[in-house]
Amino acid sequence: MRIARGALALGAAALAQVLLSSYLPALARFCDLFTIVVVYYGLTSRPPAAMVMGTSAGLVEDSLLGAILGLNGFKKTLIAYLVGSAGSLFMLNQAIPRFGILFVASLLDPLAELALSVAMGQGFNFPGAWDLLRRGLGNGVFGLLFFWVAARLP
């Protein structure tokens, strides 16, 4: 049942992200639904499940975006592990801490990509501080909305 819900959430996130990119591209730049889903699972599931979700979400994202397969998988897996670890160490079931972890996860994403690009000897344009801030705020706000909706689902 949990696997089915996870798959469903992942599918819905993928669909919503594609539609958002098509019709509201300005908003899509500051809202990474895959990261939000991964953070959600990182905080609400056991670490192995969260990491599997992270890998799956990343691979689906890679497939849809045409990115190097495994790139987002790597990042999302790492994020899921770190969020899961943070969730086991701290109380992250309130809105403000959750906003904070979503914000940090949004910053981790480009940082991890930068590290990978350097390791693979490829160029990477690191986003500016203002862009990162907007991305963090956007994911924080949409993430809290996602948490709120998810908490009310049967």
Partner: protein, 279 residues
């Protein structure tokens, strides 16, 4: 050993998954750019849903845009109606100004043709009490107007000034039953006196039964009353009847449309029979 593995299970899983991703990345970097089996599988599975969602979203967006467009059309329609109303009012004003300009030009032409100095005046009031047909003008003695001065328009004779104040004057029209204008028929030069009959127009009296008169004959002022200059049109004979005694009854339709009269010219004749002046 087994306990350590269990304790480190998440970390080991992380390593496995990261390695898996790295392997995938490496294979992709080495490949010629074609999609992997996993990518193709994800795209194939997701394609129908993506297409359906895209169609639904596209329809929603189109509907929304159409709705917003309709709202825009409604707003635009309202704006156009207001503009039409404004333009109609402006057009009406322009038409009014044009007509006034034409009338004033005619008055100007008339003033240039007149033998006397003259003053143009606006009709600011009408009185018809007791059968009298009186006009009030916005010019008075301050403008040189005196009693018994004739009042004309480009169409013909209007009447004469009977009272003046510094800023206003009163005109007895040829329709007034108390008025009498010395007249003659332009074609036959038969003379008579035109008196007013109120709403019915005018009547020409003192025309001999033997005189040759036809409907359509033009009646003009003869100048014998020493008020109206000779040759100004009064009207046209509209009917001829047998009168009592030796005269005819000649109905005259005035040339001037008194109901629509707005501007007139007062001839500043220096002399004329005495009349009442008020202050």
């Amino acid at each position: 050993m087994a306990g350590l593995l269990t304790e480190r299970k998440p970390f080991l899983l992380l390593l496995v998954l990261l390695t898996l991703n790295l392997v995938l990345m490496s294979s992709r970097v080495r490949s010629d750019g074609r999609g992997t089996l996993l990518e193709e599988a994800v795209l194939s599975l997701g394609a129908p849903f993506l297409k359906a969602a895209s169609w639904a979203a596209g329809s929603s967006v189109r509907s929304w845009k159409a709705y917003m467009g309709l709202r825009g059309v409604e707003r635009e329609n309202r704006r156009f109606r207001e503009e039409i109303r404004d333009l109609s009012a402006k057009m009406h004003d322009a038409e009014e100004a044009l007509q006034e300009a034409r009338r004033l030009r005619d008055l100007l032409d008339l003033r240039e043709q007149l033998a006397y100095p003259s003053v143009a005046a606006r009709v600011i009031g009408r009185r018809a009490a007791g059968g009298a047909k009186i006009l009030l003008l916005d010019r008075g003695s301050g403008d040189g107007i005196r009693p018994n001065q004739p009042v004309v328009t480009p169409r013909g004779t209007v009447g004469r000034v009977i009272e003046v104040s510094p800023g206003i004057s009163k005109v007895q029209t040829v329709l007034d039953p108390n008025s009498g204008v010395a007249a003659l028929l332009m074609r036959t030069r038969v003379q008579g006196v035109v008196v007013g009959e109120g709403e019915r127009g005018c009547r020409m009296d003192y025309v001999s039964e033997l005189s040759h008169v036809e409907v359509g004959d033009v009646v003009i002022t003869s100048g014998l009353d020493q008020i109206h200059p000779k040759g100004s049109i009064i009207g046209v004979v509209s009917a001829i009847g047998e009168g009592e005694g030796l005269t005819k009854i000649i109905e005259v339709r005035p040339e001037v449309d008194f109901l629509r009269l707005e501007e007139v010219v007062v001839l500043l004749k220096p002399e004329g029979p005495p009349a009442r002046e008020t202050r």
